[in-house]
């Protein structure tokens, strides 16, 4: 289905070069919106255009989408950017790529105007106002220019005081340092070896049983020597995070922490609760924390509301409990224990947790006060069932928690 055009050779070449440049600009736009597009993807996209009718918007769209994206998570943002970038000329307004004010689309206010400019320039390019070379040059100049002077890079010496700083006292302008610090948490848990064996080609111990058993097929000659190693024992986590009003100061940080946890630990299941419970495992499964956060704010409607510990836990047990309550899993609850619900119900649910999970860890930011005692009703009721009761008000305490789950 090659495209047939009645154009002279020179004109045709110029047009196709323009198209290539626009595709590169579009890929840049995607990247600046945190959609991972590699060079290979770009080349594939151009190769794909050989086989489609680029005058058909649908075919052009599908060709770019299927070659450039690697996950359906990026479909919505791709659609948005595609629509604004590849507008047809007759209904093309002044701005391009900039009229999308959604948070997902412009995670960084600094990069947004830049997107506008590049897109605008690209459009001028189509109409032939500027030479393509100039556009590329200017675009690259813009990218090269330093983002801003007032954002110093975090250094190691800085991080020590920040590690012990209470999340409550963190100023908004210091938030970006925490993004880096959370990344550097050593969550990558080395898998503990269990007592059972599994066959493995890399193992160091010879599996005599298997070697002899297999040799029987071959007339009793041992030809292959099979090896085995200890089977890794994985602790999987189930996280229940409180996002009610009383946890407001901490929930932003804790969600970031949870995001990192889920990124590194396979099979972690995450839920948030307040007045009710919601599974957010899929929502925060994004490569970019900003996309994850904005998705959360769209989808979790009970943020900063009241708390109903018992009710939320019951909802968990009824809906997901049968599948997730296992002795191989550790339950982690992040909450301050302020509860407006039924205390008996809470006790009952906690006892169900206690029977079902390997261990229960409760992270409570209020534990930072030396004389803190779990007096509020919810916390007092839950205490007897909790195996580990830890603070979580700064980075250092979270590190302690990470070390703990490595050991359990």
């Amino acid at each position: 289905m090659a495209v047939k055009r009645e154009l002279n050779e020179k004109d045709y070449q110029k047009r196709s070069q323009n198209l290539i440049k626009r595709i590169l600009l579009f890929a840049n736009l995607l990247r600046s919106n945190r959609v991972p597009v590699s060079m290979k993807n770009e080349l594939d996209a151009m190769a794909a255009l050989k086989y489609v009718n680029i005058e058909s918007r649908f075919e052009f769209y599908m060709a770019l989408r299927s070659t450039m994206l690697v996950s359906h998570k990026y479909f919505p943002i791709f659609d948005q950017l595609f629509d604004s970038f590849w507008k047809t000329e007759d209904n093309f307004p002044d701005t391009c790529g900039g009229d999308t004010e959604d948070q997902i689309c412009s995670p960084n206010p600094e990069t947004d105007p830049e997107n506008k400019n590049t897109a605008q320039k690209a459009e001028q390019n189509e109409t032939g106002d500027e030479t393509a070379g100039e556009i590329m040059k200017e675009a690259s100049e813009e990218e090269d220019s330093p983002p801003s002077e007032e954002t110093p890079l975090p250094t190691y010496s800085l991080s020590t005081p920040f590690r012990e700083k209470d999340f409550e006292d963190v100023r908004p302008e210091e938030l970006y340092i925490y993004d880096e610090l959370f990344k550097s948490l050593r969550i990558n848990i080395k898998e503990k070896k269990g007592r059972r064996f599994k066959s493995s080609s890399k193992g160091k111990i010879i599996d005599f049983q298997k070697s002899i058993r297999q040799s029987r097929q071959k007339g009793g000659e041992i030809i292959d020597i099979y090896k085995k190693e200890k089977k890794p024992k994985r602790s999987k986590l189930v996280l229940l995070a409180d996002v009610s009003g009383s946890m407001d100061i901490y929930s932003t940080f804790l969600i970031k922490f949870i995001y990192e946890l889920q990124k590194h630990l396979r099979d972690t299941e995450t839920f948030v609760f307040g007045a009710q419970l919601k599974r957010i495992t899929d929502l925060i499964n994004y490569r970019s924390i900003k996309v994850a956060l904005s998705l959360l704010s769209h989808n979790v409607l009970f943020w900063s509301g009241g708390t109903n510990l018992g009710g939320s836990f019951m909802q968990f047990n009824e809906t997901y409990g049968g599948k997730l309550r296992k002795k191989s899993r550790i339950l982690v609850i992040l909450s301050d224990g302020w509860d407006k619900g039924d205390i008996d119900l809470l006790k009952k649910q906690m006892s169900v947790f206690k029977k079902g999970f390997k261990k229960i860890i409760w992270l409570n930011p209020n534990l930072k006060y030396d004389n803190y005692e779990p007096l509020c009703m919810g916390m007092a009721a839950a205490m007897p069932y909790v195996d580990y009761f830890l603070p979580c008000h700064n980075l250092k305490t979270l590190e302690v928690f990470v070390e703990l789950i490595k050991k359990i």
Partner: protein, 295 residues
């Protein structure tokens, strides 16, 4: 070289083979055939990912070679194995007969048992290679596949590099149990198969189950659309829809009522908690389910 099918032709041919696919899917298939690139299909379980490969092998009239992935799957069991028993027999018989033999003799074609990947590459005729549920296999295996997916060749220590005689059409499916590596994704075209729209679901039900009446098909698709909006541990896919519609046809029912939903809920949900939630909400779901299309 055989003639390339257009998007419309693919769509029509698949419809004839009772697979109702939308424009997007048909186009991605067209593109993957044209560019000779592997196609990675992701989607919830039961939306018909594996079926695509089966139907494709039918309409292209090519043999389907299927590699089902599982945890612990390794390279040797997917490329080739030596037929040890035969090799030993050969050694013993030559010994008995007093003949001498070269070591190379027993590592020849005669003693090689080809496994799916080697079969696909060496096949004289063109084939469709389905690598099913790749997310179940280990990451090492994923890395091993990279060479095949980009260059259509594999390297076996004893035999050297084997290049594909005919580039196979490769379809890879994933249920998103885990995130696949970028390197693998980059080598493929990507498409996500979503749950079908109510209109298309009706078409699917009718295609797969011609005996069903219009009213019932409409009602089923309405109920399914409603159920998929709810929080379930495992939402029912198209496979469940088809099971259910088939069950209703066997029971010779003309309409769906609450009692029938209770009896047949095993077709739709496979988890205890889900079944209970479904039973709790069945009245609500049933109400106005016939209007699934208008709503």
């Amino acid at each position: 070289m055989e003639k390339l099918l257009s998007t419309e032709q693919i769509k029509r041919a698949m419809k004839e083979d009772s697979y109702v696919c939308d424009n997007q899917l048909a186009f991605v298939i067209y593109l993957s055939l044209a560019m000779e690139k592997p196609l990675l299909l992701e989607g919830e379980p039961g939306v018909g990912k594996t079926e695509v490969a089966k139907v494709l092998s039918n309409i292209l009239d090519r043999k389907l070679i299927r590699l089902q992935c599982y945890e612990g799957l390794d390279a040797t069991s997917t490329i080739c194995e030596w037929n040890y028993a035969k090799q030993l027999l050969k050694i013993k018989t030559t010994d008995v007969c007093g003949q001498s033999y070269q070591l190379d003799d027993i590592f020849s074609e005669e003693f090689l048992i080809p496994r799916p990947l080697l079969m696909a590459l060496r096949s004289k005729e063109k084939v469709v290679l389905l690598i099913d549920e790749i997310d179940r296999a280990d990451e090492e295996f994923e890395a091993f596949l990279l060479e095949i997916l980009s260059d259509f060749q594999i390297t076996i220590p004893e035999m050297g590099t084997i290049k594909a005689v005919n580039k196979p059409v490769v379809i890879i499916t994933s249920n998103q149990v885990r995130e696949l590596h970028d390197a693998l994704k980059r080598r493929c075209l990507y498409h996500y198969i979503d749950y079908p729209s109510p209109e298309r679901e009706i078409e699917i039900i009718k295609t797969k189950n011609p005996a069903i009446n219009d009213h019932l098909a409409k009602k089923i698709s309405g109920i399914m659309a409603k159920l998929r909006n709810q929080e379930f541990y495992k939402r029912p896919g198209v496979a469940e829809t088809l099971d259910w519609s088939q069950a209703l046809t066997i029971l010779e029912k003309e309409d769906i009522d609450e009692e029938l939903m209770d009896l047949t809920c095993g077709c739709l949900f496979k988890f205890k908690e889900d079944v209970r939630r479904f039973k709790d909400m069945k009245t609500e779901v049933l109400m106005g389910s016939g209007t699934g299309l208008e709503g």
